[in-house]
């Protein structure tokens, strides 16, 4: 549903390059790499937010619906939690159901300022899930959560994946267990050259086609 030919992307220096990435329905991908290696940058490119790169990004027809959970919560501070979800949800019930699932039904009427960071991130997760996308981009979705909450949130994502098996997922995570659980193919950033993206094909070769 999405094809990316990334020749080069960089700011002052070259950051990413020589990457051919094809994401098809049902693919699961996990981006792994050291801090500052360009994971978020790649996600931005995939998500279509960053167009300042050398290369091409092609979308299937009909265009896939993309949901992106950012690394920061990025909630609208002047809207309550519920209103923030309603920006994306089709109806009120869906918003409340999702809030229930991320265990924040009590906080529906609060403003983001009144949430802890972990709570705000869960709202952001709920918002990404609310869109019922064809391609889900999650940038470190489980960070800032205690292990048991993190597990429950992961299960929530799994549940959605089971419910919509055709949904593709790109996950950034520093926790290899998360990727394992979802059965995602690891996409390891080369830490030595700092620029080339290498597929870690040992795990699962079935999902996704990566051409370097």
């Amino acid at each position: 549903m999405l094809e990316l030919e990334l020749e080069e992307k960089g700011y002052d220096q070259r950051l990413l390059g020589n990457l051919n990435l094809q994401i098809s329905a049902g693919d699961r991908l996990a981006l792994v790499g050291p801090s500052g290696c360009g994971k978020t940058t790649l996600l931005n490119i995939i998500g279509g937010l960053d167009r300042a790169f050398k290369g091409q990004r092609r979308l299937a027809d009909p265009e896939p619906k993309i949901a992106y959970m950012f690394q920061e919560p990025r909630l609208l501070p002047w809207r309550t939690v519920e209103q923030n979800l309603r920006m994306v949800c089709s109806c009120r019930n869906q918003a409340l159901d999702l809030l229930d699932e991320v265990e924040l039904l009590d906080a529906a009427c609060r403003y983001p300022r009144e949430l802890s960071l972990g709570m705000a991130r869960r709202v952001a997760l709920a918002r990404a899930l609310a869109l019922e996308p064809d391609l889900l981009l999650l940038d470190e979705p489980l960070v800032s959560l205690d292990p048991s909450t993190a597990l429950r949130m992961l299960r929530l994502v799994e549940k959605l994946l089971r419910k919509r098996p055709k949904m593709a997922l790109v996950l950034v995570s520093h926790n290899p267990d998360d990727a394992d659980r979802i059965g995602a193919q690891l996409l390891q950033f080369d830490t030595v050259t700092g620029e080339v993206l290498l597929p870690n094909n040992e795990k699962t070769a079935s999902a996704g086609q990566l051409l370097v």
């Binding site: 279509g48 937010l49 950012f70 920061e72 990025r74 609208l76 002047w78 809207r79 920006m87 300022r113």
Partner: protein
């Protein structure tokens, strides 16, 4: 709210007392006391003149205010968001920002005649650049992260306006509404002075020629009272609502 009202009354009463004291001490017809001014307001009110002129001026102020805010916000928005538009329009903005009110008023009156439309248009032309210059700064200071978020979630145009842009522009809008109302009313005074036969500006100038400071203050304070009502009835509730998300301390 009740403690606010109390505060307000206390401050106002204090001011009036100081004023009365000063007026009594100086005892100069150029500094009439609050009693004299109040009496003048009552007289003008009874004669119907106050209401008439105030009404006329208010109508002009309202029309000009609404038009100038809308146009100025749009213009400032475009200039703040698009580098290209800013480059093209910046010389024009600076020109109109600094063109003396007098020039605009004269030219419009001469071209269009001393008609109501010319008067209101002159005010709008004077005010739009001010609003635009303020809103432009706001449009340049938007949060790019939220912008990206709205992009990613494909917010509709309307959602962007209502939920993304307006809240961020809000302080700039408030600033330009508050200073704008004041500026517009000041320009309306000049406009009325130069080419209208009614309105507070006309009356103020007549009073000025007779050096009737009491009437000048009577008309000025009547208008200020109206602005105070707008402040209480519209602007402060609006501000309170719009700043609720910031918590208690912020909305004053």
């Amino acid at each position: 709210m009740s403690s606010r009202l109390r505060d307000y009354l206390a401050v106002t009463a204090g001011l009036v007392c100081i004023w009365q004291l000063a007026a009594t001490l100086i005892a100069d017809p150029m500094l009439p006391g609050p009693v004299a001014v109040f009496q003048s307001i009552v007289t003008e009110w009874r004669s119907g003149a106050l209401l008439h002129h105030l009404g006329v001026t208010l109508r002009r102020v309202t029309i000009a205010f609404v038009c100038a805010m809308i146009l100025g916000t749009l213009l400032g928005w475009v200039m703040g968001r698009s580098l290209r538009a800013n480059r093209l329009l910046d010389p024009l903005l600076l020109l109109f920002l600094n063109l003396p009110a007098l020039v605009v008023i004269i030219l419009l009156y001469v071209w269009m005649g001393l008609v109501e439309a010319a008067a209101v248009l002159a005010v709008i032309v004077n005010k739009v650049p001010n609003v635009a210059a303020t809103i432009r700064e706001g449009a340049r200071s938007l949060d790019p992260q939220l912008e990206e978020m709205a992009e990613a979630y494909r917010f509709t145009r309307w959602q962007r306006i209502r939920d993304l842009w307006l809240p961020q522009l809000f302080p700039y809008l408030m600033a330009s509404m508050r200073t704008g109302l004041a500026l517009i009313w000041k320009i309306v005074l000049v406009v009325e002075l130069l080419g209208r036969s009614d309105g507070v500006g006309f009356q103020l100038h007549l009073a000025f020629q007779l050096f009737d400071v009491t009437s000048i203050l009577a008309y000025s304070f009547s208008f200020i009272a109206i602005v105070q009502l707008i402040e209480w009835g519209v602007l402060q509730p609006l501000e309170k609502r719009a700043r609720r998300w910031q918590g208690e301390m912020q909305h004053a």
